[in-house]
């Protein structure tokens, strides 16, 4: 990972400690029982990590985006669900920070988020939109005296019932076009999330993401001024893809590490004997290093593009293609590495209760191609490839 400043090194040291001492011991149970990783989230709160990206001027940790990505990687190595909750929360924080208007309500909100270590969940998907995040059915509706209300049916809300606040995409007004979207933040007490399904999936079981009906009434100032399409292109999409890729890389890296530990243990037991697993491990390392290279270059390109005036480069079709490809590649490669680890470890990796178990790793990374369906992203890329001048 890239070179970080000393305060960020301290931040990452804390994250690694939480990953090793809190997330890791609970990971198996969080997965088996499909329960929220409450201990890890509390530990993150205790060190102020939920406000790590909030600027120092507002009381937050002021760490760089690179440090956040590294944190997702570290947590991913120990518990995929914990890492995903952390990543999803940070995506919302980063989005708000990157589109913060001076003097807006959101400045005060970020201070509160910091002092109270509030957890934000995202409500972007919606029943009836076919998975198109760029279109909403539910609309912001005037409710009198400077307040607005809405009701939205979401097929999935990650850790929705455990979040303090929700950031929701909506149509700007009852007569607005489906693509004319805004982002609204509601706090506990302003919204009611009625869970409508169950959460018993193959992987990422601890993210507790059943669907629900969300009803809320809120002051109109709690709507981000920048229209959502711009927020989506400049922040939400690339940031999501980068943080997710880092945690998937973390999971895959731990799977590789277990495979390597297995090979070394085997070598100790049978010193001097040929070890086919060692050769398989070498193949696996090639696969892992490709994933690592793609994830690392995606982060670097995003940080460079974010530095261009007005973040112009992030609005180009070439950028959209690049950060879509990051998600497509990483979501494909991470489970492949985990499956390769299974191939190296054999039966001991296949069993769930050994030091070399990689079943959870495989199942968690298999969620990657579904959270935003890859086929949908390929279709978008297909359109972009036809239209774009440079790719």
């Amino acid at each position: 990972m890239s070179v970080l400043a000393p305060p960020e090194q301290a931040f990452l040291t804390e994250i690694r400690r939480i990953a090793d001492e809190v997330a890791a011991p609970h990971a198996i149970e969080v997965d088996r029982e499909a329960r929220f990783p409450a201990e890890t989230v509390q530990a993150l709160r205790d060190v102020g990590a939920l406000a790590a990206f909030v600027p120092a001027e507002l009381g937050g940790g002021g760490v760089s985006f690179e440090a956040l990505a590294a944190a997702c990687f570290e947590l991913g190595r120990r518990c995929g669900a914990s890492a995903m909750v952390f990543a999803m929360h940070q995506i919302q924080v980063v989005t708000i920070v990157r589109h913060l208007d001076a003097g807006s309500w959101f400045e005060g909100y970020l201070r509160e988020l910091t002092s109270e270590q509030r957890l934000i969940a995202s409500v972007t998907s919606e029943v009836g939109t076919g998975g198109d995040m760029g279109r909403s059915v539910a609309a912001v509706t005037p409710a009198g005296e400077g307040t607005v209300s809405f009701e939205k049916q979401a097929p999935t809300v990650s850790y929705g019932t455990f979040a303090d606040d929700l950031l929701t995409t909506l149509r700007r007004a009852p007569d607005a076009d489906g693509g004319d979207q805004v982002l609204a933040l509601t706090a506990r007490g302003q919204h009611e999330l009625e869970t409508t399904g169950t959460w018993d999936p193959l992987g990422m079981r601890g993210t507790c993401s059943p669907g629900g009906v969300l009803r809320a009434t809120l002051p109109a100032e709690q709507i981000l001024a920048t229209p959502f399409p711009a927020i989506s292109a400049e922040s939400m999409v690339p940031v999501s893809h980068i943080l997710w890729s880092h945690l998937w890389l973390g999971i895959a890296t731990d799977a590789f590490d277990r495979a390597r530990a297995f090979v070394r243990a085997s070598a100790k037991q049978k010193p001097g004997q040929p070890l086919p697993a060692a050769t398989r491990l070498s193949h696996l390392m090639s696969e892992l290093s490709m994933l690592r290279a793609e994830v690392s270059s995606g982060l670097r390109e995003f940080c460079e593009a974010s530095d261009t005036p007005g973040r112009e480069r992030l609005s180009t079709m070439a950028a959209a293609l690049r950060f879509n490809n990051l998600k497509l590649s990483a979501s494909d490669q991470a489970p492949r590495v985990c499956q390769g680890a299974l191939g190296v470890t054999g039966i001991v990796g296949f069993k769930n209760d050994t030091p070399f178990s990689v079943g959870r790793h495989l199942r968690d990374t298999m969620s990657a191609c579904l959270m935003v369906a890859n086929e949908r992203i390929h279709e978008t890329n297909a359109s972009l490839l036809l239209i774009a001048k440079d790719v």
Partner: protein, 131 residues
């Protein structure tokens, strides 16, 4: 007449063809970067939304009545006021035409269908005769 009004209707298919045939060149000649960004759905510009904005520009042209004056498409921009209704921002030749005719602010409404492939817009402006 106290008002000038302009209306336009077009097939979204025309925009799809222009995107396929000319890609970003078409976008750059007709739309501003902000308009293109506002029309992005899942990253790629949505033809229906672009078509609605084109209809808005053409409706505005009918209100501005350029005659022999050259009017680049990008001198009329569809914008969104923060949390507010869509509006039109006029620059260059478009702004000059509106100023010369002493028109009031241009009011805009636009729409597009989801299945029938049509986009439409209407623009209205007060003239000096209304005051």
């Amino acid at each position: 007449m106290p008002l000038r009004v302009g209306i336009d209707l077009l097939d979204v298919e025309e925009v799809e063809e222009a995107l396929s045939a000319h890609g970003e060149r078409y976008l750059a000649r007709v739309f501003t970067p902000r308009e293109v960004e506002d029309c992005r759905a899942d990253g790629a510009p949505a033809p229906a939304r672009l078509a609605a904005r084109f209809a808005a520009k053409e409706a505005a042209v009918k209100v501005l009545r350029p005659g022999a004056v050259a009017l680049p498409w990008t001198s009329i921009e569809v914008e969104r006021a923060p949390g507010g209704a869509p509006g039109l921002r006029l620059a260059g030749a478009a702004a000059a035409l509106a100023g010369d005719a002493a028109l009031g602010p241009l009011a805009l409404s636009f729409t597009h269908t989801h299945t029938r492939g049509l986009a439409a817009a209407i623009v209205v402006a007060e003239t000096p005769a209304s005051r």
